[in-house]
Symmetry: C2
Subunit: 468 residues, 2 copies
């Protein structure tokens, strides 16, 4: 029984025409905004990736076995190691195993490899550096609707030695342009990690619980207030602390109302006030410049899963299906290069989930105008002599940019016409003995059900390239 690994899938040519349409639309806007295309390898050293995504990320990374002769040596080394140390088997056989068997993994996102790229190539790069990447990433998550183990991300990021909130504004404008071109209204939820830091401060939650706090808070919209509270209490956050700030996460009012409330609440938190100032700058300028298909909404419970975010955070959902899966996200990560030994360098970016945008657009029936660009012409195969005669015309049409197929065998004519029909090929050209003798080209239009004989190849080209 042949099948595919769990969480992976094939893409047919119909799927591909829609995917290529999405990629082309996104790529065009990335380039109009001045982002450069780069690519990084699928495989990174484990040491580059580990610790950047939290514990769950480390365990869901696809790790590659050593290969060739080296593999056998490492197996024997591992067996020797644990034979001499029973403790390992009991306590951390997995860790010891991975250390021996693997030092490479498939990339888990595009952000960490990009920052690794910047650090490695810092002497050739012109800063501020704006790049985009459209490549697959891999996560051994439990597969479910909208969650594949291999999926494409479309990332645009800016990295520089100084930072500017105009970068966030540009990224929001960029998303608006992309989704406007796709005719797909979205909501961008925005929040700021420094505001969350401020709330943690006034709630009296200890610093060492920060990661636990954000990880649980990020589930607010999915599992609700009560379960988030339960999870936070289990991590050691007190009920009193929780109640001090929980009110804000449920606020449904508009931006200015939330701003007023939080300005009062955070008046003694320096970091909280800084977060508020940043957010206010972004929001007011965006309002001024205006958006098209995008609603920008402050969601105070937005925390984002990745460890590496430091400032603004963003999440994108479909406007008419807020509860649909998130189709993109991003934020500021001013410390990530630091973990690779490069200081005072600031990053911010967005990441669009190609497969999720695809799914959401299918769901809302937004691919109506995308066609499967089939071939334009099929040449009937009447036998070797006839094909050889016709081949110069086939070549000529292709030179003119007309996608042209030759049926490979001299099968029954009906079968060959059926092939054209099933593949949405509009025109069929027949050059049999008769046509060769008369020096004619016979062409049938399967859509209009008309047939005509041509004396001149240029008239055929004119007919084929005629616009409606």
């Amino acid at each position: 029984m042949i099948n595919l690994p769990k969480g992976t899938r094939d893409y047919s040519s119909i799927d591909m025409s829609k995917r290529n349409y999405l990629i082309q639309t996104i790529r065009t806007q990335f380039e109009l905004f001045g982002f450069d295309s780069i690519e990084t390898p699928s495989i990174e050293n484990i040491s580059t990736l580990v610790g950047k995504y939290g514990e769950e990320g480390d365990s869901l990374m696809f790790k590659l076995l050593h290969s060739g002769n080296f593999l056998k040596k490492r197996i024997l080394d591992f067996l020797k190691k644990i034979k001499n140390n029973r403790e390992i088997v009991v306590n951390n056989v997995e860790k010891c195993f991975i250390e021996h068997m693997s030092n490479k993994a498939l990339r888990y996102d595009l952000t960490v490899p990009f920052v690794r790229y910047v650090v490695m190539h810092k002497n050739e790069i012109i800063f501020p550096f704006k790049r985009y990447q459209i490549q697959p990433v891999w996560r051994a998550d439990k597969p479910q609707k909208g969650r594949l183990r291999e999926f494409y991300q479309c990332d645009a990021d800016m990295i520089s030695y100084s930072w500017s909130l105009w970068e966030e504004i540009e990224l929001i404008q960029l998303c608006d342009e992309i989704f406007t071109k796709l005719n797909f209204p979205i909501i961008i939820y925005i929040n700021h990690r420094d505001i969350l830091r401020g709330l943690v401060e006034i709630a009296g939650i200890k610093n060492n619980l920060w990661k636990d706090f954000t990880t649980s808070l990020d589930k607010w919209n999915k599992i609700g207030r009560d379960l988030v509270k339960k999870e936070m209490l289990s991590k050691g956050i007190t009920s009193l602390s929780f109640d001090k700030v929980a009110f804000f996460f449920d606020m449904k009012e508009n931006f200015y109302h939330k701003e007023k409330h939080l300005t009062i609440a955070l008046q003694n938190s320096e970091i909280g006030k800084k977060g508020l100032r940043d957010l206010s700058f972004i929001y007011r300028n965006i309002k001024n410049i205006s958006l098209q298909k995008t609603k920008l909404e402050w969601n105070i419970s937005l925390a984002r899963g990745m460890n590496y975010y430091t400032g603004t955070i963003l999440e994108i959902v479909p406007f008419y299906n807020k509860n649909f899966i998130s189709i993109g996200g991003g934020g500021r990560y001013d410390q990530l290069a630091h973990s690779f030994g490069l200081n005072n360098i600031y990053g911010v970016g967005i990441s669009l989930g190609l497969d999720r945008i695809y799914l959401a657009m299918e769901h809302e029936n937004l691919f109506q105008t995308v066609s499967n660009y089939p071939s334009k012409v099929l040449f009937i195969n009447f036998g070797n002599e006839e094909v050889l005669y016709a081949y110069k015309i086939i070549k000529f049409l292709r030179k003119k940019g007309i996608s042209t197929q030759l049926y490979p065998n001299a099968e029954k004519i009906g079968k060959q016409f059926r092939y054209a029909n099933d593949n949405n090929i509009q025109f069929v050209i027949s050059i049999g003995k008769n046509e060769i003798n008369k020096n004619k080209i016979r062409m049938k239009d399967l859509q209009k059900r008309t047939e005509k004989e041509y004396d001149n190849i240029n008239n055929v080209v004119n007919q084929l390239t005629k616009k409606l």
Copy 2:
């Protein structure tokens, strides 16, 4: 110390513009010839891939470790298994290990996954099925110049329930169009596995030595006659057998001369005669249709490494550097679907090595006309008020399809101009307090070193979109 795994590399935006040019050229021709785009996942079940590429292939496949909680269970299962059976450790610990630790691998080529695709989707596919794929593959080969561990292949294949030599002719024409468009002359070496079968027959080499024979023969051009002979003898082929056919592998004469010789030599080999007939049909028709930048040459020592080839085989090398690495290859594989349980289905295809074409074209300095499509315009950042004022112009230019950047910070003007210069951005627009008051747009052309003030945004657009 941060680095990349052995045999992998980053691609800068300059690299990417050349790669995208290659991909675009290849894709366009694939589509003009009527091939459809599909994609398959990077990860396949090991059972799908194993045994298709020969022993070396199996060992050079990148295998993925099981992940999550399942991994620990499998480690403990493996340890238990070998504890209870010392024999395994001595004899085949590696095999037992892989069985426990992995069932997935990165694809090794695009052909086997494609055939797996056809077998899995046979009920939705319209045959004859022509598809192309441009995706990376992974091999744990020893890295060296032109041999990466992750590299892109560009494959075009046809699969159907009947076969036709016009498919081979189409593929050769397709290569000729691609390399003509790239202005890159090539040689396509052609041979036929049935001719080799015929030679094996008349040499009296036993059937069970067929794989060894082709594997060694394939090295003829690299290591030479003497070393191939030595290797064949070591596999059990007799010196007498070798000498009976070695003469043909060194033949330097033209096609018709070779054909004459082999027609005599193979007169008693049915399979050999069939191979000759096929090759003659392809060669004569190609000569008749003619080629542009391609020389088609019969190379009797060509055998191809993959196990799965059955008929015609092809290999592509640069015309002016025959001894450069091979930049592509292909052939007929009429039995491959059979190994997945689908009978009487025939396949043929070509595979172009993107990274090798890149390398060969760099070597011959053929990328001169490819430019790095930089942004057209940089807006100087004079501060928040000025940027907010200018932003409507930035938006307008992007809407007009002009790639436009905003410098993110209000840094020193000189630094901002240097950024434009270093990035080959031709135009710099300055809108400071002065320009706002006068309602003007000031634009400098860094190439022509001219500066001008504009009253009207449409005049700016005209200037920016003006063709030379």
